[in-house]
Amino acid sequence: MAGPLRTDPSLPSLVRGAPKERHTHGSGRAEAPLPDPGAYELEFLTQLDAAPDRLRLPEDHAGAPYGGTGWREDLTRRLRVLLHTAPLLALRAADGLQAPDRKHYDSLALALRVFDLVLASMGLDRGVDRTAMQRALQPLLAAMDDAAGYAHEAARHEAVVDRVLGALLNDDQRREMFRATYTDLRPDGTAEAVSLPYRLLEEYQQPDGGLALRLTSEAINLFLGALDRDIEDEQVAMEALVREQLERGSFAKAVQSADSAQFQSRRYTLYIETKLRLTRRDLKLVNWRAEMTPLLDQAHIHVQRRIQAERAILEVACEQANLLIPGSPEAAQVAIVIRLITQCCARHSLLTQTLAGARVVFLDEQGRQGFAAAMEGQRPDFVRDILEPVLQQPSGRAIQVTDAALTAIAAPRAPTLLDLSALINWCLKPRRDVPPGAILVHEPDMVDLPSDVLRFPVEVRRVAEAALRGITKAVLLSDLLSDGLARGWASDVLDCVTLLVSLEHGRDAKHVPLVDLIRTTRRFTVAGIAGDDLLLLPAGMLVPAPSSAESAR
């Protein structure tokens, strides 16, 4: 990739992706136009051959490119590309430090799949969010589990995806930009330390309020082979390829090419929209005169040509579809091509509208941002310039700043008005009518019964009491229940007998007992009734029953 450098400003390339911050303390001489590097390169290599142990700088290297150091601008570009991989390599390097059950996940492979998924979703109505990402990575994680002999575990997968996304978003540094420092050479050969701030992945808020992921231009170029490519050229090439493949009958390849063409159209749309977004944010972030105006002019011509080319492809595709047997695999492939190219065409039509309104965006923002005094000057550091100084102020003065904060951050609140007549009507409103067909639910009356036994029907109580009064000799409760069960007592009768016996405990002296009882240590279970067994005796055998007269008193 030693060809001539691109100078087309429309490219979202790694070279121009983010501004370089220079920390040099070099000579600061004016930069002269570069001479042809070819002749110097040849001389440089000759010297190298002649003096393999030590290379001396040429005596007069003022005119030599990069001071005769042999450096070239494309080397800087490649260096910058390589630096963008640092977060990915750091992520992979940390794989070995993970818990034993997580070491088998290849985080670099997962990160590339994340790039792939995010790229596929960019430009669509709805981007891919964390939850969707978790689901989409599930098969890959499961495959890694299978290879290492681990069971699939959702919580572990979630943690791994969080780690990968966190690394790509730079969560450790509170999502600040990654920063790489490298050595660059000025045209006069002065070496300088240069800082390169960049992002790979961003989380953004969609209009529906949800969050989604998107790749930065740098990440897109890195993922697509770290090539400094012209999106427009790629689109043209891809469309030509689709058309040729359709005409040659290579339908499967045409589907792939159409898919790539669609991706290129999304990428181009995204690029234009990003530029306009930056304009809305701050005019200073884009160079409208030198960059945006020619870009919009070129984009307008480009999009019109794309629409024409896509219509031509659709004509060829429709002709081919007519010649194919309906339902055949080839017909299905051509149908996919038609769908993808139709989507490209629709996207480009929408982009035409966006481009038409782009100049208005600039003029509007110029007026608005020029008016807003708030946009001028430096932005404060909240901690250093506001929070810390206000904390040092006496509270009587600090309140001026804190009041300003409360007022500025609070959203406008619609004052509510009291409608007195509505209030009175509401207070006097009759009880709501029951709509026809509604089922009335009667609240059960809660009644305190004097005895739990009364919950049984009277006939059940009679049978149970007769059974207990009929005891003439000592008998175990379990035996009584077993006999009753054998005689066909209903479960209600069994329950009632048990309850009556249990109520014989702790009664006051006025109670007329049905039976006397002695507790045993034996456990019993009969017909689902279980507990300590009781020895039942005829009433009065243990404790004399009070006379009827005493009871009445």
Binding site: R175, D385, I386, L391, P394, S395, V401, R413, P415
Partner: protein, 281 residues
């Protein structure tokens, strides 16, 4: 009047042009005198009404979405909306897929005054409320450069503990620096002479009640209440991750802080710094 009858607004010879003063230059379409259908005036006011519901989203309400789209496409309608908002001393900060975002001027009946922020609050509590809001902004935007980021870029989620830590770090430093100084006079507190960090420092940081709930009067709980208040205003979304409540600032919050709110805070701070120390403000 029917919808077909028109209202004339923004003409150059109209004596009452105060409606649009300050925010924009009034309605214009080249000849200086523009007739707006009354139905459009009503729609413009409807859009302002939607803007006063900070949690409503155009994607969820068809009428809101249509009005926002019209705002973007029709210059005259946009001017009508801004005039309608300006009548209530409201300024349109943004109108797009995220909705209409308004800010209230000092004389606006829609302005939430600091005293209204919390019912029956004393001055000290009001100051703590403001400090916490600044603390939240400082936690979301730890560096000045962050204020230049895109509004829709999701910033790192924050927790109530992180906000508290942001303020605590400074207060701890100020407390250490004040060691050896004379204690403030007993009347300093009532006279508003006690430094703000001392007022903050007097409050308990985290405390639990006997039944395990967070105590209401702690700094941590107050931070949580403010984050909840921001959620009600469409500025925060709360999510639970790994058992911790995290707060994600929204497009609205970013726009509000980056485009507007930092400025009055910073200006007020600069004005305070310009005062001599003895001035009681």
């Amino acid at each position: 009047m029917t919808d077909f009858e028109t209202a004339t607004m923004g003409s150059t010879d109209r004596p009452d042009s105060a409606v649009t003063d300050g925010w924009n230059g009034g309605l214009s379409a080249g000849n200086g005198r523009v007739a707006i259908p009354q139905a459009d005036v009503r729609r413009a006011t409807r859009l302002v009404a939607w803007g006063l519901r900070p949690t409503a989203r155009p994607q969820q309400h068809e009428e809101y979405r249509e009005l926002v789209e019209r705002y973007g496409q029709d210059d005259l309608f946009r001017q009508a909306v801004e005039a309608a908002a300006g009548g209530g001393d409201l300024r349109v900060l943004h109108c797009g897929p995220h909705g209409l975002i308004l800010i209230a001027g000092e004389t606006s009946p829609y302005l939430l005054k600091p005293a209204d922020f919390r019912g029956n609050a004393d001055v000290e509590t009001r100051m703590l409320d403001g400090l916490i809001q600044i603390g939240i902004a400082a936690t979301v935007y730890p560096r000045a450069a962050d204020l230049f980021e895109a509004y829709d870029l999701a910033r790192s989620p924050i927790t109530a503990a992180q906000v508290q830590e942001t303020i605590d770090l400074i207060v701890d430093r100020l407390r250490d620096a004040a060691k050896g100084d004379r204690d403030p006079g007993a009347s300093a507190e009532t006279q508003g002479l006690l430094e703000a960090w001392r007022v903050y420092d007097q409050k308990p940081r985290v405390r639990e009640t006997r039944d395990g709930r967070a105590a209401h009067n702690t700094i941590r709980q107050q931070v949580t209440l403010h984050l909840q208040r921001l959620r009600e205003q469409g500025c925060m979304i709360d999510t639970e991750r790994a058992g911790t409540i995290q707060w994600q600032s929204t497009f609205r919050y970013h726009l509000l802080i980056q485009e507007y709110a930092y400025s009055p805070m910073f200006d007020a701070m600069q004005a305070l710094r310009a005062l001599p120390d003895s001035d009681p403000a």
